[in-house]
């Protein structure tokens, strides 16, 4: 009887990560409908608002476009990518046993989650870049007054949206269910958070609630940074709390198969 020599364990290296991220990227790009919404819808809202309210200012002289429209546009990008798209892929991977298939290779199914996250980040960055370019080119929008702060709070907002997405992926039984849950959440958060017009137009209690929810909080925080105003800690706290809570529930509920 011959003994078999088994090499020591080796985790998949940088090449495997690169290939997996590339694979997830192709999955996202080839899913045309899923790609169009986060890139096209914000652009549409940007243009519609640009044609309507270009040049308008708030009572204290801040451009409405910079204070509200741009933050809403960017928040739509991260919310559609994070809350709708990403979980639909993950739920589909679980449902169709892609995760299980990966579990019998040296790759860990957790790697697919990470790779989706990376691709989602790239997708968000592309959406933001397109929106920013269009705004600068056609509507004379400048960079945020407090660019660093804007970037930081936006990153926090993106993190929160991805955390909510993980929660959706954890509770949705199928890819279709994930899209349904994700879209419902997206519209609920968006409607109360200023996606269909300034929250001032909403009934007072609803506007308060909307601002405490991730979409509204993100719009407010990014808008303040853009206009050069100080941050309201309540918005940041609301984002962080949603991120922590969603992650905790997602980790508790997530099933690999």
């Amino acid at each position: 009887m011959t003994a078999i020599e088994i090499p020591p364990a080796r985790r998949p290296g940088p090449r495997a990560w690169a290939e997996l991220i590339l694979a997830e990227g192709k999955m996202v790009v080839r899913d045309t409908a899923g790609l169009l919404i986060p890139l096209g819808m914000p652009l549409l809202i940007l243009v519609m608002n640009g044609l309507g309210s270009a040049g308008a200012t708030t009572a204290d002289g801040v451009s409405v476009f910079e204070r509200y429209v741009m933050p809403v546009v960017f928040t739509i990008v991260i919310a559609t990518v994070g809350v709708v798209n990403m979980p639909s892929f993950l739920a589909y991977y679980r449902r169709s046993h892609v995760l299980r298939r990966l579990a019998v290779t040296p790759a860990n199914p957790g790697m697919i989650l990470a790779a989706q996250l990376v691709v989602s980040l790239i997708q968000s960055a592309v959406g933001v870049a397109i929106g920013m370019a269009a705004a600068m080119l056609f509507f004379d929008v400048g960079v945020p007054e407090r660019a660093g702060t804007a970037l930081a709070v936006f990153a926090l907002a993106a993190l929160t949206m991805y955390a909510i997405g993980m929660l959706v992926a954890a509770i949705a039984p199928t890819g279709n269910a994930a899209v349904a849950i994700g879209l419902a959440l997206f519209f609920a958060l968006g409607a109360t958070g200023g996606m269909f017009g300034p929250t001032e137009n909403l009934p007072e209690p609803l506007a308060r609630i909307g601002e405490a929810l991730p979409f509204g909080a993100a719009v407010q925080a990014v808008g303040r940074a853009w206009a050069g105003a100080d941050q309201n800690p309540a918005h940041l706290l609301a984002l962080a709390a949603a991120a922590v809570l969603s992650t905790a529930v997602a980790v508790k509920c997530f099933r690999w198969e």
Binding site: I4, R10, A23, M27, H97
Partner: protein
């Protein structure tokens, strides 16, 4: 060292016992079949071997490694083809092979494997657009990508047409020639009979028998039948000394001998010794399927539906 060693494996789902104190050992380099009806616990057993399920009790060693504790090491040398598994739907055959190849330190050449599995024309086809048989072949190609030392194939040829099935059998025989240990879960008796060195019969989560396919048939003790005609009237006394023969019936020039063991050989020898020329000799013996049914009880009594296939 055994390639695979399972001792006292026990697994239940809720109040259903899927695998009940099962032990088996697979030698290095053999093709080991696992045969059993739906719900017998075959898939649960191989899933425990593959490290996908944690046994409630019992021990599993694959190439000397614990499939769960030494997961990372084992994955480099164990190829697994699962019964139900999809891949990234929008990726092409070539892209999927490339992706999975990157997981392994050492491995086969993806292009060569694609050719060997007859997927050359589908290289640029997305997984979602492949036929069932093509998806199956791709799954098997992926299981072989890491040049594994042991392979688990669950329902290898399900969904393949007869030609593709034969090609797949040749591939598995090629693996044995290269010293790869193969565990083959199957429903397909012809496949098991042709490929497997040994077969484990699993019934209701327990090991019913382990033997070579021919050994299982013999073990089932089912009757064999030899029929022939003779040119001259036949004297049944010629077969008196043949231990293997249980009954001899003659009707005109036709003779029917039933018995067991190496019946055909024993009867032929006796005939030759007595200088009797047999014409139109035919031989019927129990198939593996007959043996399977005999060794695991009646198929239609409904009492066999223990456990659940998971």
């Amino acid at each position: 060292m055994h390639a695979i060693e399972v001792r006292g494996l026990h697994k239940r789902y809720g109040d259903k016992v899927a695998v009940d104190d099962l032990s088996l050992s697979v030698e290095l380099g053999e093709i080991y079949g696992i045969l059993g009806r739906n719900g017998a616990g075959k898939t649960t057993t191989v899933e425990a071997v593959a490290g996908l399920r944690r046994p409630d009790r019992g021990e599993v060693r694959v190439l000397g490694l614990d499939p769960r504790r030494d997961r990372a090491r084992l994955r480099q040398v164990l190829g697994v083809q699962l019964q139900e598994s999809a891949l990234h739907s929008a990726l092409t055959v070539r892209e999927l092979m490339r992706l999975h190849r990157s997981f392994y330190r050492d491995g086969a050449d993806p292009g060569e494997l694609i050719d060997r599995m007859g997927l050359t024309e589908q290289r640029g086809t997305r997984f979602e657009n492949l036929s069932g048989g093509q998806q199956q072949r791709l799954n098997i190609a992926l299981a072989l990508l890491g040049k594994p030392k042991a392979v688990i194939l669950d329902e290898l040829t399900t969904g393949l047409d007869p030609e593709a099935r034969r090609q797949m059998w040749a591939t598995v025989e090629g693996m044995r020639d290269q010293g790869v240990t193969v565990v083959l879960v199957s429903h397909h008796m012809e496949e098991v009979e042709r490929l497997c060195d040994r077969v484990a019969l699993i019934d209701a989560g327990r090991l019913a028998a382990v033997d070579t396919p021919a050994g299982l048939v013999t073990r089932a003790g089912l009757e064999q039948v030899v029929r022939f005609r003779t040119a001259t009237p036949f004297d049944a006394a010629i077969l008196d000394g043949v231990e293997e023969a249980r009954s001899v019936r003659t009707a005109g020039d036709r003779v029917v001998v039933t018995g067991s063991g190496n019946l055909l050989h024993a009867v032929s020898t006796a005939l030759v010794r007595s200088d009797v020329a047999a014409l139109d000799t035919s031989f019927e013996r129990a198939t593996l399927e007959d043996a399977f049914l005999a060794l695991t009880g009646s198929p239609f009594d409904g009492s066999s539906d223990h456990g659940s296939e998971r």
